[in-house]
Symmetry: C2
């Protein structure tokens, strides 16, 4: 043996030793159908410790029992280059979903992502507002990698030399079936840490895996009823008088309004912030807030967490802030109790105490150009990377706590989240304004335990204005954000009436939305979600030749065509929005009979239909046997204890059953059992007539239902 | 003190201790005007060890002596989160250039980059073919971070709380001068390693810093003369007969041709490769190569380094390949001598031995979608990241060595490089096809010790074809790449004659190009470079409001307008290309008098001029006193020892001086002193006439000059 070869053999031996010395995985079933695996020395600070929520084990236990969904021996961990490598198997037909709030793609198999909290930058590369390291397989299981690091994900894209299930070797010179992306049999992840903690969630269905994930994170959020009403964010420099005037105008014109968002101008200084009311624009903040509350309108305050050196709290918080600034403002190390105490007691004193109902927390996602850099240090010793991955969770958790302490629910906006955030009452938004991307994000939000609003800001035409209003009314938050434009619902006179009807429909549907959110909370089922989570929806992503020209497409890459413009809203509704310029579109109906939401007529069964909708309608379809409880249109959400009359609609040929959720709609008393699920039944009678029944309210339980009328939509 | 506060103080103390315990920097002047700094434990494998070249200390010593260009105490190093942090100061007016082969920007101050070898993806974010971690300051110094890791660069974008030179605090509510990107006083870098080696290069001018960088890397490459001729890459599935036919056609039609590139079809299998000639298309490779050589046409072979399991070398190389494959091909660990031996002795046997003159080495940059993933392991123990950052260097170095062993120069193409590669005879290319980006890349190549060709492939119109031909003829490699399109220079009959003239001009200018490359080699001066390296060019980047609408531009970000469409070619020429659709453009002339290349007429002095050019002309301007040696048009580069007649042109009012370089043009004998610099002088005589002289050839030195004629262009 030559000396050189000897060295090589030695090196190889060393490498093999290092691989073999990788600690095995230790597995624990931490909740029914949820397994935790640990390898090496995982970091103490991770997504779940930042979110710090308690799994809902009772609800998890109620789910169907399920075996471990993978072959444990096919899950590999290895330590290399100071990092941890994780591999999970994939079979040939499996599809993957999730990996956070993606905006352009639903099917994730084959993707390469670096999960990294960031403003979405027009491509699904892992940089997004909620880069949740959780994926769901079409085979009915989920995997969460609980790390607050930037994770490199190869979601079935890389091919190992030692693969037992390798792709076929092809010669590109002559073989027309040669592919630039050969089949890969694994998800591979690089975790830049000396150890790893991850979780496997059983199904049996993909939706069950999502449910287990959400319940493990404490269950989905249950907003206050008013959170599901309409909200207007006013121009950034409005004064108290202007805000009150705007609220009056909503009332006079008959547009629903549950809360108003104030943008930066409420603060004495912004970017960075003082968190203090501007004395000129808002001379009497408490009186202002109370006056609006008396009219049934709540106040939500915009802020970012970056502390102006001129803020009163600056001297006290300065020692607990990062080495680097954001717009010359200090960055509180919110992983430190003292930083939280200083910042959030200011919030409590100046805002929550006087009746403010929630926050919009901006810029915690960070465009790199202004956020703290990855070279920054934080006094807790957590790295800039770890802080970036968790900052959205931290602001949500600790502002939520301010309201929880008062036994008052809140519902707000945030621009970053991550795994563990399912139960936080926040909806994600961003600066992007592509209507199509907004809908794809809404679809993907359901895979990641986050909520998303396709907010309406401005529009070029009345048509666009109305189309955007339609989708925002079928989303977790029905909002106009007029911070820059000053738009109002009636800004386009030619569609002002249709916008009003849309907003009224949103209000009418509140009992349905509220019940669907209750299911998110108690059962983990996302209220807005992908068609791929719906049984009977067989639509696969199709690969299509991108371009026949090697000039334009040197690797002959195929492009994936997938369904990313229709979604499920609650148990029964399929929403298929129209975008500006469209009056007709294709809708893919899962197997089972589907009915038009507005007329109750049959539209199809497991087929692709073409729908034409007038400008004033968003195409919505109801599953056979679907029950939709509506209340009378109104301008504000019902108050705690208030009773409202209800119209219960039934669609289709099947008998229907629905559990209507109820509680006070404002407090956390539901956590003490003060809630009810009342059964609604619609059954065909021997005489062929439909008959509906609503179970009587349990004595002592909340009951917000007044008189009930029935409407059998399908004749 | 509360217990909590005590913990916090303790934590802070710990953090401070960790920072203080950072080892100081140890400085050495490793070559005249080049200082090396070491901190912590730098990794043994880095860019310079991969490139493994010897600094040209003699040439460095000839440069003006210069003091250390920064204040050492303002350079900070710190260890954090298992990584090394480096900070270098910036003053208010300083501009930064470099950071690798960028395609859309020249001014780099304010940028955030992650340097990462990759195919350029339409934005300058650090992912590029040559993400050289070297920057040049307008203040006249350069910095190289010698690490084979992905480096996070904040090039004057982040603001520290403790900055001694902080930006002004502003209130965005009311202050219209508020900026989303406040002033930053430092370059900050995160190196994911436990130590760091970096270099500071003195000026005094920015160009001097670049020269020192190139000389430190062994000096720029000196191509063979034929490398500067015209090259055609033929259709990927051409047979030997078709290639010979194409060469004949060039000859018959009178188009210059020095080398032909064969694309994948010469191999028996490709993507992955066998490195073996296809017996059907090339039955007698040696005879084929020799036949072309006899006609003055050399052969360059396309390949990528990924080894087909059906390649004859597969069994032998397999143990020395990565864990993951590329298109099911094995990835040789080229940092291991044994892998190189197996792969390159195949190259030597099957290609170099029979007369092949060079390679085009594809796909070593890697689109993530096909390259080995970052989770891959290599038998040497080097990480996938390190291999990715250096693979381009390794393939260049070790293929170069095959030719050097034979005392024959080569000149080829490669798709990745990095710091340390200045002396490798390779030109970078890519799959992008934006003519504008190509020119910006040409400008930036000069900051990074790499060469770039704006190759011509196909075109929609004759105009585009000609405009592209014009710029490729004023670049390091005049090439048509017809691998997919099958285009030839005469493909657009309406401009076939103009294309021929352009290619002939390229040939005529060979003495100038060759001399300018010699300066690259001996003096470090890049032959193609930015206007910002030219004395008297005062053009700064301008910041302009992007959009007045907060809807479209929520952070009121300004956009940088900069000059990125004109460049210097050699000592005297300013090239200002026209793009399709343009017939007129603005050109910024540095201070000093400038003359039209074609007519010799004065065009301006330190001003912005508007030029109009016919379709058959690319605007080129000559500095006052400029001397351009031309040879008679010919179809192939002069052979070693051959003499060619020369026309020496002089431009402007000043006397001119030029050192004409000469050697055999084919071998490395110049390294043994077999070269000459002959002085050309043009002086105005007392009678007002110009007179030119060429120093006589030193006896025994190479001399390729036949008879000389003089042309004084400016009357």
């Amino acid at each position: 043996m030559k000396p050189l070869n000897r060295v090589i053999v030695l090196l190889q031996f060393l490498l093999i030793t290092l691989s073999v010395s990788a600690q095995g995985l230790s597995w624990t079933e931490v909740a029914p159908g949820v397994w935790k695996a640990v390898a090496g020395k995982p970091e103490a600070y991770n997504l779940l410790t930042a979110a710090d929520v308690t799994p809902n084990k009772t609800a998890l236990a109620r789910l169907e029992k399920a075996p471990f969904p993978l072959l444990r021996e096919e899950i590999k961990v290895r330590f290399q280059d100071g990092k941890t490598y994780l591999r999970l198997p994939l079979d040939r037909t499996e599809q993957l979903y999730g990996f956070g709030l993606n905006f352009q793609t639903v099917h994730q198999r084959g993707k390469i992502l670096q999960l990294h909290v960031d403003h979405y930058g027009k491509s699904d590369n892992g940089r997004t507002h909620a880069p949740v390291p959780f994926y769901v397989s079409s085979k009915g299981y989920g995997v969460l990698i609980n790390s607050a690091r930037y994770l490199d994900i190869y979601a079935g894209s890389a091919v190992r030399k030692d693969s037992k299930n390798p792709p076929e070797l092809k010669d590109r010179n002559t073989d027309k079936t040669w592919s630039a992306r050969p089949y890969s049999d694994a998800v591979e992840v690089l975790i830049p840490a000396a150890g790893l903690e991850f979780y496997v969630f059983a199904g049996p269905s993909p939706l069950d895996a999502v449910r287990r994930f959400n319940l493990f994170n404490g269950g989905g959020t249950l907003p206050p009823r008013w959170g599901l009403g309409f909200t207007q964010r006013v121009h950034r420099l409005y004064t108290a008088e202007q805000v009150l005037g705007e609220a009056r105008e909503f009332e006079e014109k008959g547009y629903p309004l549950d809360f108003i968002g104030l943008e930066p101008g409420w603060q004495s200084k912004s970017y960075p912030c003082t968190f203090e009311w501007d004395k000129g624009r808002f001379p009497e903040p408490e009186r202002f807030v109370r006056e609006l509350l008396s009219k049934g309108v709540r106040i939500n305050l915009w802020t970012n967490p970056y502390v102006s050196p001129e803020a009163s709290i600056y001297p006290e918080i300065a020692p607990f802030t990062a080495s680097h600034t954001v717009w010359v403002g200090a960055v509180p190390d919110l992983s430190m109790p003292r930083a939280r105490e200083v910042l959030f007691s200011k919030f409590e004193q100046d805002h929550v105490r006087i009746g403010v109902s929630g926050y919009k927390i901006d810029e915690v996602d960070g465009y790199d150009s202004y956020l703290w850099p990855d070279v920054a240090t934080f006094p807790s010793g957590h790295s800039a990377e770890q802080m970036r991955q968790t900052y959205g969770l931290l602001v949500q958790k600790h502002t939520f706590d301010l309201f929880r302490k008062n036994n008052t629910r809140t519902y707000g906006l945030v621009r970053a989240s991550n795994a563990g955030g399912s139960s936080f009452p926040y909806v994600i938004y961003n600066d992007n304004y592509s209507h199509e991307d907004f809908i794809t994000a809404l679809i993907n939000s359901g895979y990641s335990g986050v909520l998303w609003t396709p907010e309406v800001r401005a529009s070029k035409t009345g048509e666009e204005w109305l189309r955007r209003m339609q989708t925002v009314c079928f989303s977790p938050m029905a909002m106009i954000n007029a911070w820059s434009s000053g738009t109002r619902p009636w800004s386009f006179p030619e569609v002002a009436e249709q916008v009003k009807q849309m907003a009224q429909l949103r209000m009418q549907m509140m009992p349905y939305w509220y019940t669907e959110f209750a299911k998110y909370h108690y059962q983990g089922t996302p209220p807005f979600r992908s068609m791929n989570l719906e049984a009977g929806f067989g639509q696969e992503a199709r690969k299509e030749k991108n371009s026949a020209s090697l000039e334009e497409n040197p690797y002959e890459e195929a492009v994936t065509r997938e369904v990313k413009d229709q979604y499920m809203a609650g148990e029964y509704l399929l929403v298929a929005p129209l975008f500006t310029g469209q009056s007709t579109r294709k809708v893919i109906l899962p197997k089972g009979r589907w009915y038009d939401f507005y007329t109750g007529t049959f539209v199809g069964n497991g087929e692709v239909i073409s729908v034409t909708a007038d400008l004033d309608k968003i195409p919505v379809f109801v599953k056979d046997g679907g029950i939709i409880p509506l209340m009378a249109p109104r301008l504000h959400a019902p108050k705690a204890g208030e009773r409202v009359d209800m119209e219960i609609r039934h669609y289709g040929q099947k008998n229907g059953k629905y559990l209507l959720y109820d509680d006070d709609g404002e407090t956390f008393d539901y956590e003490k059992g003060r809630y009810s699920w009342r059964e609604i039944k619609v059954e065909r009678q021997p005489d062929g007539q439909w008959k509906g029944t609503l179970a009587v309210a349990e004595p002592g339980k909340p009951n917000s239902v007044g008189t009930v009328s029935w409407r059998f939509m399908t004749q």
